[in-house]
């Protein structure tokens, strides 16, 4: 477990709370790490979890940067940020005040844009403006910078790498792209660089250079046969096009390869936390466990597991008569037979809650080793609506990392 925490830069809201340890839930991660990556399959509420963790840290006086892919429109609206803008946008303190949330720190949001990240990477690594323009104008570049498998994941890492040492932030959170496959995300740097900078491309570039253009009889026969085979598959002019492009990119490679290695090793740094996000759905649980295995294989940490949308169990639900009596006393004007329908609503949700509970027992068993290894697990109750405002995020933040001294 992380050691004692550094004192927050600003005094937390409750006066005597500073006497209590801020060590509940994910709070130690917020205090001890510089980078937090939220990972998990699509549709589990990763973006909301990332934003809520950011808010939890900002409430503790941290200056937080959230890197996100595509926040829900209403969430961005209520935070006052423009969706399509890739520059850093700091949320106005007034938004927090209006929601009654005390935020001594700050929260900045930056939208990830794969192409512009790639463009600026090329611009920063290209030795000359001419070379930069040739690459950026290449028809293949247009594709590689947006649609090549792994580009999105790699550029998210790249952006993270670029901002992680920015002194204007104490904590950087990354809402990772929803990968179809856990492997995609972990292998992205290696895969993308491997596709361009490798012995393979040198082999091709040499093959073309030695002949000036594709003149197969000058090459070793097997090489020629291979090139002819590929040429048949892809159209022969295409090979030259790709080789020329790769040759162009080679000027940039030295720096790039180094950088990809640096990014990959930064992902394993001691100041990075991995938060695995899931729901109780057995398929999502399976996926998150698979992801945890992959992280373990790569000797990467699994710092926390967040289970979103855990439905409540209402315990012993009273009968319809008792509900009808309570309804009379509540002043609620509902139609005939309302008590039975309320009972139905409670039973329906309890059924989901019980099922969630069963699914989470499976997760518990699977996480036994993780938890003895120091991983934290936090369950977030299901909201009956999408979270799209500061007050809602603050409620999730209360669950993920309760402020010391806050009522339980």
């Amino acid at each position: 477990m992380p050691g004692p925490l550094a004192p927050p830069r600003n005094t937390p809201p409750a006066v005597d709370a500073s006497l209590l340890a801020d060590d509940a839930g994910l709070a130690p991660l917020l205090a001890s790490r510089r980078v937090i990556l939220c990972v998990g399959c699509g549709g589990v509420g990763k973006t909301t979890t990332t934003a809520a963790l950011g808010l939890a840290a900002a409430r503790r006086g941290k200056r937080v940067l959230c890197l996100t892919i595509d926040p829900a429109r209403r969430l961005s609206q209520s935070l006052g940020i423009e969706e399509m803008k890739t520059e850093a946008q700091t949320i106005e303190p007034a938004r927090f005040e209006r929601a009654g949330v005390d935020v001594p720190g700050s929260m900045t949001v930056m939208m990830l844009d794969t192409k512009s990240t790639f463009d600026s990477l090329v611009a920063s690594l290209a030795p000359s403006p001419e070379q930069r323009d040739r690459i950026l104008g290449n028809v293949l570049y247009k594709y590689i910078s947006t649609s090549l498998a792994g580009t999105q994941e790699y550029m998210a890492m790249e952006k993270l790498y670029a901002v992680r040492s920015d002194p204007s932030y104490d904590l950087v959170l990354l809402d990772t792209p929803p990968t179809a496959n856990a492997l995609d995300f972990l292998d992205a740097p290696e895969r993308l660089v491997g596709a361009i900078d490798s012995a393979a491309t040198r082999w091709f570039v040499q093959a073309f250079q030695s002949s000036g253009k594709l003149s197969l009889n000058l090459l070793a026969r097997s090489t020629a046969a291979v090139l002819r085979g590929i040429g048949k598959l892809t159209g022969s002019g295409f090979l030259e096009q790709i080789a020329a492009f790769i040759h162009e990119m080679n000027a940039v490679f030295g720096g790039w390869k180094q950088r990809a290695d640096a990014v990959a090793s930064a992902l394993r740094g001691p100041d990075v936390a991995y938060v695995l996000v899931t729901t109780p759905d057995p398929l999502c649980v399976r996926e998150v466990l698979y992801f945890a295995d992959r992280l373990r294989e790569q000797e990467m940490r699994r710092d926390a597991f967040v289970v979103n949308r855990v439905h409540p169990v209402y315990g012993a639900i009273p009968g319809a008569a008792e509900i009808a009596a309570a309804l009379d006393g509540s002043g609620l004007a509902l139609g005939p037979g309302a008590a039975a329908r309320l009972l139905q609503a409670a039973e329906d949700e309890s059924r989901m809650g019980k099922l969630d509970h069963l699914n989470l027992i499976a997760l518990d068993a699977a996480l036994e080793d993780e938890q003895t290894g120091g991983s934290v697990r936090v369950d977030v109750p299901a909201f009956p609506y999408d979270i799209y405002d500061v007050a809602g995020l603050a409620r999730i933040a209360d669950v993920l990392a309760p402020l010391p001294g806050a009522a339980g």
């Binding site: 549709g43 498998a149 491309t201 091709f204 040429g231 398929l283 012993a316």
Partner: protein, 328 residues
């Protein structure tokens, strides 16, 4: 679109599904977490129940279909998973190699190209080649014939990756047309693209949930598929629709007190009669959101729509999938 009107008039319960199964190739797509794989499985069972032979193709995914159908894990080989239903989890490397063998005709030539360690890496840099190989393999299965000359599969359902990656995959033939010079790759991509755009042979099925964010994204997704890609969208499947318990007036009354919607409210109210009122308020909230989302999808998308019920404790199970298939 008369079928659309019929479906809408009948409350969108998909009377026109037979028309859907006449297509040879269907992409099933939607935002992550909407139940795409469950719907692919349920559609396959529904088509099979009408006598069709169906293949569910997945793209190199950590497949969940076997859990949903209660079968053994589905790998790179076509596996029989239910009566008249087969499934395959396409591996891009293997698909590319098979494609290469088809194009190069001579096995030895293919070995030379694909066993070369350099070319394998090189192929990754070729725009869309792996995605193309997977897409092409899925399509190839529509052309396979049995010894008696009938098609091996009547319908191939492609359980496409979630929204972003799914769109990338649908875009691949177009990317190839943009960047590849004339050759076999381009010729095949042209043929595939023509087929994908032909509403009589192929099309997209979009899956969503009756919730705010999924509805918003679905409206955008459909616009992108029809606009940017120009592909036909045949169905909107709205998964997880709750049977309403409360009238609009009752919903308003139940939502007056925001305290009942707080996440801690169910715990606070447990074991008391208030718990039913809290549950009612939560249900009313969900029903309101659902009502708005369904209205929005109906207003903004002119699509034949199928509404599937929320399964309280059977989601992602074999029994649940069969129940959905029966509804389809």
């Amino acid at each position: 679109m008369t079928s659309a009107h019929l479906a809408l008039q009948a409350g969108g319960l998909g009377q026109d599904l037979p028309e859907l199964e006449r297509r040879r190739f269907l992409f099933v797509t939607g935002k992550g977490g909407v139940g795409k794989t469950t719907i692919s499985g349920a559609l396959a069972l529904a088509f099979a129940a009408r006598g069709k032979r169906v293949l569910v193709a997945m793209c190199n995914t950590k497949e969940r279909l076997s859990a949903i159908l209660g079968t053994r894990p589905i790998g790179q080989e076509v596996t029989h998973v239910a009566e008249r239903v087969w499934a395959v989890n396409i591996s891009p490397d293997k698909a590319l190699r098979e494609y290469g063998e088809m194009v190069l005709k001579v096995r030895a030539a293919a070995d030379l190209v694909f066993d070369n360690k350099y070319t394998r890496t090189f192929f990754r840099a070729v725009p869309g080649l792996f995605e193309w190989a997977m897409l092409g393999k899925a399509w190839f299965h529509t052309t396979e014939l049995l010894p008696d000359g009938s098609p091996r599969f009547d319908v191939v359902l492609l359980d496409a990756p979630a929204t972003g990656h799914g769109m990338d995959m649908l875009r691949v033939p177009k990317v190839i047309l943009d960047v590849a010079p004339p050759g076999i790759l381009r010729r095949d991509a042209e043929a595939a693209w023509a087929m994908f755009r032909d509403p009589a042979r192929s099309g997209v099925v979009v899956v969503t949930l009756p919730e705010e964010m999924p509805a918003t994204e679905t409206v955008e997704l459909v616009a992108e598929i029809r606009g940017e890609l120009g592909l036909p969208v045949h169905r909107l499947i709205i998964n997880g629709v709750l049977p309403p318990l409360f009238s609009p007036e009752e919903r308003r009354a139940l939502l007056v007190d925001p305290g009942r919607l707080d996440i801690a409210a169910p715990t606070r109210a447990a074991h008391t009669a208030e718990s039913a009122i809290v549950a009612g308020a939560r249900r009313a909230m969900r029903e309101s959101v659902q009502h708005e989302s369904l209205g929005r999808l109906r207003r903004e998308l002119d699509l034949p729509t199928v509404i599937l019920p929320f399964l309280f404790d059977e989601a992602s199970t074999v029994a649940g999938t069969r129940r959905l298939a029966a509804r389809l």
